[in-house]
Amino acid sequence: MNRPIQPTYTLDKVGEENFALNLGPQHPGTHGVLRVVLHMDGEYILQADPVLGYGHRMQEKIAENMTYPQALPYVCRMDYLGALSYNLAWVLAVEKLCQFEVPERAEAIRVIATELNRISSHLLWWGAFLLDLGGFTPFLQALTDRERILDILEEVTGSRLTYCYFRFGGLPSDVDEAWLTRVLDFIKEFRDRLPRYHDLVTGNVIFHHRSKDVGVILPFDAAGYGLSGPILRGSGINFDVRKHEPYSGYDRYDFEVPVDQNGDCLGRYNVRMAEIEQSLRIIEQAISAIPEGPVRSKVPKLIKAPEGEVAVAVETPRGQLVIYIVSEGGKKPYRVKYRVPSFANLSIFAKMAKGQLLADALAILGSLDMVIPEVDR
């Protein structure tokens, strides 16, 4: 079905109550350059049309014109909040294609870094979501803690946002004991601070009124729209790539997949909050069982992939990312396809926003945790 992007109202039809409203492209509530054309009846939404592509950078085409290592920094720039998961997916895909080995120590460090990145992403979401709902304090609280994670990650990766730390066959540099201790210290302090988050928001009555039974996604729809990540789990479907198709040694760690049956904004909120705690658990286990040894296996300097195709799935903070590479042999891939989680997650927004109050639509959009450059890629 081809729905018109421009509102279909003519001037004579526009009344006091019926009008079209442009949400975005530069609206703070859309968290990026997403434009949603809302057809309104007073405060209620009749129809919502997301308009995508403002940040389209031809990521797939760029990757096809680059050698495998050259594409590394580009992949990480799709999802700027969960860059390490993207980094991980790309190296895993190429490692699978070329059958490179990865030392166990490197795998453990990858898990630690990726989980730290997941927590920082969830923290920013937490702050931004509550900012959408009108609370400013949570944002500052979350950023204070997130900043400490960024400091920790900066120490090993050298960057604060668009990390590019993993390499084919392992890592470019090892971490030292002091860094691991620093991570453990952070976990301890963060555990002490987590109850504050719940005091501030989770038990708050206003928050409950804004999020409970708002934007309910039924499990049937969640599966049908191809949602993934905390949104899918917030609708009662237990699926997490880390658990069900373990990669990078996630099967060695003991963690739970939080699921909430309600499917509303509060359900998604609860899932993410519980996920933060699970990530802390994973990091602790990874650090306590970290093996000694090299962090990079022998890989050729000039990477020539054999003919073939691979698909690798990774659980990013926003859901399931699949990278599919077709190689005809040689230094560059023939075809690259990114299946990004936010794109699928956004697709249900039009259905959910229908009949909602405008303020609730923003709450729903916030609870979906969009990263728009990832949608547009």
């Binding site: 580009y74 304090t137 609280q141 120490e155 990766t157 050298g158 960057s159 005091d199 501030l200 206003i206």
Partner: protein
């Protein structure tokens, strides 16, 4: 009955607000989480990535680069221009021109990693500002080093 529920809600709401306010007020007496730049600055980690810079040979003070161009070929954004020639009497080539287009650089570090002689490294320069764009489109990395040419 209805009214009783309503009052309950109000009381519950009041208490949840108080809990939240307690967290907020608790922060009034903590140390500030920010630093007052430019009077103070946050510590830079060792692996901080500023723009890339050329390292000098300890013995001669000339650039270490042997102008093999692998950094230029491997850079995803094609932002390095390097040429070189042999100084008189020397066996190896040496860079006589090394320009970085910092506006395109993504600070990925592939050039630093690929360099066979370890001639490149990240600088610790982060407070970069200029009135003209040209200062960054053609950054001459050899400027501060000695030259045999």
């Amino acid at each position: 009955m209805m009214e009783c529920c309503y009052i309950k809600e109000v009381v519950k709401g009041f208490f949840s607000l108080c809990t939240g306010m307690r967290v907020t007020m608790g922060n009034v007496f903590t140390r500030p989480a920010t630093v007052q730049w430019p009077r103070e600055s946050a510590p830079l980690p060792d692996r901080f990535r500023g723009h890339i810079m050329m390292l000098a040979d300890d013995a001669t003070g000339y650039p270490k680069c042997i102008a093999c161009t692998s950094c230029a070929r491997n850079c995803p954004s094609q932002c390095i221009i390097v040429t070189g020639k042999k100084p008189e009497g020397a066996k190896k080539k040496m860079a006589d021109r090394f320009e970085l287009d910092f506006t395109k650089c993504s600070l990925c570090g592939l050039c630093v990693e690929i360099c066979p002689v370890g001639a490149l490294d990240f600088s610790r320069d982060y407070a970069l500002a200029s009135y003209t764009r040209n200062d960054f489109t053609t950054m001459d990395l050899l400027q501060e080093l000695g030259s045999p040419f």
